[in-house]
């Protein structure tokens, strides 16, 4: 019988809530309270997430974010700053001991990115995994991914770019050298792509989610059953949002 994992479609939430829910699922999974879980979600308002090791002040123009109504949050995963606007974000939470998850961290990135690539193929997009944590199509990045392992549990979350607005992104992110900002923007425009750009049409969030669901099912030989967050997860998520992700102490810690 095909193994069943839980699918969560939690809609569009704030940056604080999104990061709190991912961590709540991680903790619940580590206690054996919930099955392995794949979650699809979006961000409202748009937000920038920064990697665990990044300096908020180095990476983000906080005043510009506040002016534009863009939230910002520090992730529990490493990696770089991401502007979350027109994208599908996924997270996958699985015990480290699960036979489908490679023990070697880089191999597990490749495996989970494999699910995203299968999803993209369903949409008619061929892509490749480029270590450490990118997926590219036609040589341009379409997905960035970040993984943590805590309490013997793997959490990986990542983006699937549906559309991209590099100019807005760079009005919110700081660059090391303002003098070369224009060149940097031009470079990034050359290096990033999106579903819309590749297919020449807009694809609805739900259609991308449907394709990704199949991608994860095929990659991990599982069936995803739509479910909801358990009450314990909701309680944990509220606690993490309040005590961690919405606090200055957490977001400005580096």
């Amino acid at each position: 019988m095909t193994e069943q994992w839980r699918l969560l479609q939690t809609g569009f939430k704030t940056a604080y809530s999104n990061m709190a829910v991912d961590k709540a699922i991680l903790v619940a999974t580590s206690k054996g309270k919930v099955p392995p879980t794949v979650r699809f979600y979006g961000w409202n308002p748009p937000a920038i997430s920064i990697g665990y090791f990044q300096s908020l002040n180095d990476e983000i123009d906080i005043e510009a974010c506040e002016r534009c109504g863009v939230d910002y949050v520090r992730r529990i995963t490493g990696g770089g700053a991401v502007f979350h606007q027109k994208e599908l974000t996924y997270s996958i939470v699985v015990p480290e001991s699960h036979p489908e998850i490679p023990k070697h961290i880089l191999n597990s990135y490749g495996r989970i990115c494999g699910a995203v690539m299968r999803g993209l193929r369903r949409l008619g997009i061929e892509s490749q995994y480029v270590p450490i944590n990118d997926i590219v199509s036609g040589g341009r990045k379409i997905s960035g991914n970040a993984q943590t392992r805590k309490f013997e549990t793997v959490l990986q979350h990542g983006t699937v770019l549906m559309d991209v607005d590099v100019d807005t992104m760079f009005s919110l992110l700081k660059v090391p050298d303002e003098k070369i900002k224009d060149k940097l923007i031009a470079d990034v425009k050359q290096r990033v792509t999106s579903i819309r750009h590749l297919l020449g049409k807009e694809v609805h969030f739900h259609e991308v989610a449907r394709a990704m669901k199949t991608g994860f099912e095929e990659e991990f030989h599982i069936e995803l059953i739509e479910g909801t967050l358990r009450s314990e997860e909701l309680t944990l998520a509220k606690q993490f949002e309040h005590d961690c992700f919405s606090t200055k102490e957490w977001n400005h810690r580096r």
Binding site: G51, F53, T77, G80, I105, I132, A146, K150
Partner: protein, 94 residues
């Protein structure tokens, strides 16, 4: 004395170092290691910052110290390694 460096790790990520050090002996007083790399467990980086205090900012000394911290505390870096971290810190010297 306070100094900073930005170093793109070959085949890796961007490393940013901010360090306060003793000017005479070039010993680290306080260091902050930031960037878009990965480290497992994540909390180990704060430990690394603490353990690097009082270390002389010479690349080889730093590399050995960092390697020993990595081995002792079972830290796994992705997009960063002992050599590059040592180099990024040594670059902060005038």
């Amino acid at each position: 004395m306070r100094s900073q460096s930005i170093y793109k790790v070959p085949q890796g990520k961007l490393l940013k170092i901010s360090v306060e050090y003793d000017e005479k002996e070039y010993r680290i007083k306080e260091i902050r290691i930031t960037g878009d790399f990965f480290a497992y467990p994540e909390e180990a980086l704060e430990l690394m910052e603490t353990k690097l205090q009082h270390t002389v900012m010479e690349q080889e000394v730093l590399r050995e110290k960092i390697s020993s911290i990595i081995a002792t505390y079972h830290i796994e870096f992705i997009g960063l390694n002992a050599e590059s971290l040592a180099r990024g810190i040594a670059m902060c010297r005038p």
